[in-house]
Amino acid sequence: MTTTATATTATTATATDRVELRTGTDWTPVCDWAALVPGRGVAVLLPDGRQAAVFRDHLGRVHAVANRDPFTGAYVLSRGLLGSTPDGRVYVASPLLKQRFDLLTGACLDDDTVRIPVHSARIGSAQPPAAARQHHPAGPAHRGRNGAARGRV
């Protein structure tokens, strides 16, 4: 799997906007932006049966990672709380044994040898569903607010 991760600013998102994850070459709408509570996540089921955890952070950015907690195998990361490190990296802490995973890179902050898959995520307008907006260009090399494409997994 080769997924490029991004964080997407959604300060202009509206109640009708939708969160989209990239699946292959498509962007798949997974939930309403309004369904996300800042600081926590939801689980979504992708068309191929995989589970992703989708989060909204306190700056209004959306992040998506695999929902599986690699330490326990349980599909629970969507139920973890978000936090940020002193240098500003946003992570999710597993609700089971509390390991933290960087949401941009998927790297586990408590164990160098562990990394989880990261999905590209963006805010798309509901009308039309998959239309890209000007500041969210869709495409294989989609770049987030911070510029670089990150973390091949």
């Binding site: 600081g39 939801v42 089921l45 695999a66 349980a74 139920r79 936090g83 933290r100």
Partner: protein
């Protein structure tokens, strides 16, 4: 091989004997000797200093010294109920009372002392006791059941202990002391007067300056009263002789060892008797300075002296000991140290005396201002700081008068560790100097008091020096440039208790606002501060404007850990467990059937919990509302097993059914559980109510435990099970229902206000300055003037309580979160699967071991396990 090891035979297994064995083990001498112990009493060594606590609920087992398996681990051979009867020094054998003979290469006598009973008529009557062993206490306890009045002969340390015990079991108590004042050995006239006033205020009658002439005896041979040397008399049902102790040296006398004129086995500075193969240690020994030491600390030093010789280490001769002591007698602090009576030539006194408050403080100083000794009665907090300075010859760092004035009258004289020279002994029990403690911090990396305790043993005896150790550790860390970060998490430099105060005083209602205004980072927050702040806001919700009482409303929803977020307990495969509240463990058959039906219909694994409830495991998040609508309809409510909040109040069946019960423990448990349900706190709270002293509800293993007495309830606090078990301490006794509830209200709210995150009441009690005494002052005596506010806060909680599950089911917005997948609400999570075990289910962990790429597309999900 092993049979050729020389035999060390220890006669006497009291506190000093036990310390000797520990010293053998620590020094490695245990490996090179066969060690045999003859004990007179039917149980291993116990803490005789704390004997009186037997009457406040500590069992003989609680008082035992040494961890489980100590003797076995070191191969020590213990013979209980085997008093030694004679010593054959030529054959090097000891024969027990029942005729068994034990050989030795080295004999160590630690036979202790016996209570001195003055030769008065009638002293052997029924109803006359001594106060030395657990058996003595048990005899007093059972005899006192039919008694109204008790008298103690002897107003010294042990006499006052005994008086406290008699008072504790409800007797009209008298103390008779021959000297003109109480504790004549430790305190002077002024101190004795302060002590007497305080003790009399407690209802103990004190007679000083009179001797006991006779015990009056009835025709049946029972004690009925006492006649005194001044001609007066006293009616009393029982008499406890506690007029001092005498060394038990009879064995030594009988075999021709040298004993002192006034008793005691004469030993040299190596604790060796007149026979080179025989040592004597503790209260039975007459030390080289001509004294018999009746305190435990010198006995411990003698034990170490002998163990070092047996280990072949450098000798540490015992030439005498400091008799400094600090005690709490009948709740009064009494300390006496150094040259307490000012007998050093040229010694001067600085005295403060307040007879209204029962406080007396005297410091004895040299002409140059060095501290020589002192007496503190009624307020002895400074003992720990003053004693190590005593006799160092260094002039006091502050004027002596500032040290005796009560706080508030003078600028507080801070006598921290910095005032002490390195060779000052900080822990008297284990002879640990300030230098050793500093070394533990600077060289061995100890950064906290518990680490220093483990590393040096300092503070593990009587504990009076713990505060001083704390200040030495802090000073040392600061001097080393180590900053102790007390902050809750990287986001906040404040402790939980400080954040609680900020939220309370400033009325902060969100984590975001608190982080913006008081955080040291301005980011997302973290998984530590979010739930902590949520808990603080929930605890204070009744008094915060515009905060919903429901933990899933507003920003609160974003802060909760997954358990609180789904009002259930996450399990290892991502499923949840459900625990309905069963107050006091009482449940109707109808409700039991409902639980059974729900579990059956949803395929849940059921298990009875330790808290007398039923846990239903294996629910998916999307099943939780369905499960709870059935439970709520049947009258159940949330058990808060998922929250840092009150879990359960366990109970025994109580006086309604049990032939031993003295109070209705079930009714009280239900009342308490319903009162405190839903209360958010720094950690989970557990409780129990026992209907009699048999303690079937195990209340003393709980954060707050209640045990019935014939006249009310005893309240214990700070108990814990789990990895670090701790028996709860008695906070107050013989309370009415109303008094009990009022004290628990205050206790819980004080804990919520001041504890750290995830700090159970047991660790909180031990961490707080002043410990249990401080909590008792605040909660029982309202020393901070907080009681009314704490009670009001609890009333607010009770008024605002709602069942979280019923309230959640009633609100579509709160229910939205209960889906496995937000984009496929009807689809169950395929990773949550079960396999059978013992007629129930267990998580199928094989599914979880499957890496994600191998999972099949959605349409084949139901056959997931076959796909592997």
């Amino acid at each position: 091989m092993t049979t050729t090891r020389p035999t060390v035979l220890l006669v006497g297994y009291g506190m000093v004997g036990h310390r000797f064995l520990e010293a053998l083990a620590d020094s490695g001498a245990a490996d090179r000797h066969r060690v045999v112990v003859l004990a007179e009493e039917p149980r291993p060594a116990y803490d005789r200093v704390a004997l009186t606590s037997y009457f406040s609920g500590r069992t003989p087992e609680d008082l035992l010294l040494g961890e489980d398996g100590f003797l076995d681990r070191h191969g020590f051979e213990l013979h209980l109920s085997s008093p030694a009867a004679s010593i054959d020094r030529a054959a090097r054998t000891v024969t027990t009372a029942d005729g068994r003979t034990f050989g030795y290469d080295t004999l160590v006598l630690a036979t202790g002392s016996y209570p001195f009973v003055p030769p008065v008529d009638g002293r052997d009557a029924e109803g006359c006791f001594v106060y030395r062993t657990i058996e003595d206490l048990r005899a007093i306890e059972s005899y006192a059941a039919g008694a109204k009045t008790g008298a103690v002969v002897g107003g010294g340390l042990l006499g006052l202990e005994a008086a406290g015990a008699l008072k504790g079991i409800g007797l009209d108590t008298h103390v008779v002391e021959f000297a003109p004042r109480l504790m004549p050995v430790q305190v002077d006239e002024g101190g004795g007067a302060a002590l007497r006033r305080t003790i009399e205020e407690m209802g103990v009658t004190v007679h000083t300056g009179v001797g006991t002439r006779t015990v009056l005896v009835s025709a049946e041979g029972r004690a009925t009263g006492m006649g005194f040397t001044d001609g007066s008399a006293l009616d009393t049902d029982l008499v406890v002789f506690s007029a001092g102790v005498r060394p038990r040296d009879q064995l030594a006398r009988d075999c021709g060892l040298t004993v002192g004129e006034r008793g005691g086995i004469a030993v040299d500075e190596n604790c060796r008797s007149s026979d080179e193969h025989v040592f004597a240690i503790g209260e039975c020994a007459l030390a080289v300075d001509g004294r018999v030491y009746g305190l435990v600390a010198p006995g411990y030093e003698m034990a170490a002296t002998v163990a070092r010789q047996l280990a072949g280490q450098d000798p540490r001769p015992f030439t005498g000991a400091d008799l400094s002591t600090k005690l709490k007698l009948l709740g009064v602090d009494v300390a006496s140290f150094g040259d307490a009576f000012g007998s050093t030539p040229g010694a001067l006194d600085v005295v403060y005396s307040d007879s209204r408050a029962g406080v007396y403080k005297k410091l004895v100083v040299s002409r140059e201002g060095a501290l020589l000794g002192g007496i503190l009665v009624g307020e002895a907090d400074q003992y720990a700081a003053l004693r190590p300075l005593t006799g160092t010859g260094t002039p006091l760092p502050v004027p002596a008068e500032s040290l005796v004035l009560p706080t508030g009258l003078a600028a507080p004289a801070a006598l921290g560790g910095s005032a002490l020279p390195d060779d000052a002994v900080v822990c008297n029990c284990h002879n640990v100097t300030k230098g050793l403690i500093r070394g533990a911090v600077t060289e061995q990396g100890c950064g906290t008091v518990p680490e220093v305790k483990r590393c040096t043993e300092a503070g593990t005896g009587c504990g009076s020096c713990l505060k001083l150790i704390g200040s030495i550790v802090t000073e040392e860390l600061a001097a080393g440039g180590v900053e102790v970060d007390r902050g809750l998490c990287p986001c906040f430099a404040h402790t939980r208790a400080e954040l609680y105060e900020i939220v309370r005083v400033r009325g902060v209602t969100t984590h975001r606002q608190l982080l913006a205004e008081h955080g040291r980072l301005r980011g997302e927050g973290c998984e530590i501060c979010k739930p902590t702040v949520a808990s603080i806001i929930a605890s204070l919700a009744p008094e915060l404007p515009a905060v919903s009482g429901h933990i899933l409303d507003g920003e609160q929803a974003a802060l909760q850990d997954t358990n609180d977020h789904f009002l259930a307990n996450i399990q290892r495969n991502g499923s949840y467990s459900v625990v309905p509240r069963i107050p006091g463990g009482e449940i109707t058959p109808e409700k039991l059937i409902v639980i059974g039906e729900v579990a059956r219909d949803f395929g849940l694994y059921t298990k009875i919990t330790g808290g007398q409830r039923i846990d239903l495991f294996g629910a998916r998040v999307d099943q939780l509302p369905q499960i709870w609508s059935r439970l709520v309809a049947a009258g159940f409510e949330s058990g808060h097993a998922y929250g840092k909040s009150l879990r359960t109040v366990k109970s025994c069946v109580g006086s309604t059914w049990c032939r031993y019960g003295v109070q209705d423990s079930v009714a009280m448990a239900i009342r308490l559980e319903l009162r405190y349900r839903g209360l958010r706190s720094p950690h989970k709270l557990k409780s129990a109510v026992s209907g009699c002293a048999r303690e079937c509800a195990e209340a003393r293993g709980k954060d707050f435990g209640v045990i019935a007495t014939s006249s009310g309830w005893n309240l214990y606090v700070g108990g814990n099970g789990g990895a670090t078990p701790r028996h709860a301490d008695l906070l107050a006794q013989d309370l009415s229902d109303q008094e009990l509830i009022r004290l628990i209200d205050r206790f819980l709210m004080f804990y919520i206000r001041t504890a750290d995150r995830l700090e159970r009441t047991s660790t909180w009690l031990e961490r707080l300055d002043g410990g249990l005494d401080h909590v008792r002052d605040v909660v029982v005596h309202d020393s901070l003037g907080l009681a009314a506010e704490l009670e009001r806060q609890m009333a607010g909680h009770i008024a605002g309580y709602q069942d979280e599950w019923a309230a959640t089911l009633a609100t579509p917005d709160r229910l939205r979160r209960f889906v496995s997948f937000v984009n496929a609400p009807g689809v169950p999570d395929p990773s949550i699967r079960f396999t059978p075990e013992r007629d129930q289910v267990k998580p199928d962990l094989a599914v979880l071991a499957t890496v994600e790429e191998l999972l099949r597309p959605l349409d084949t999900v139901p056959r997931l396990s076959e796909a592997r």
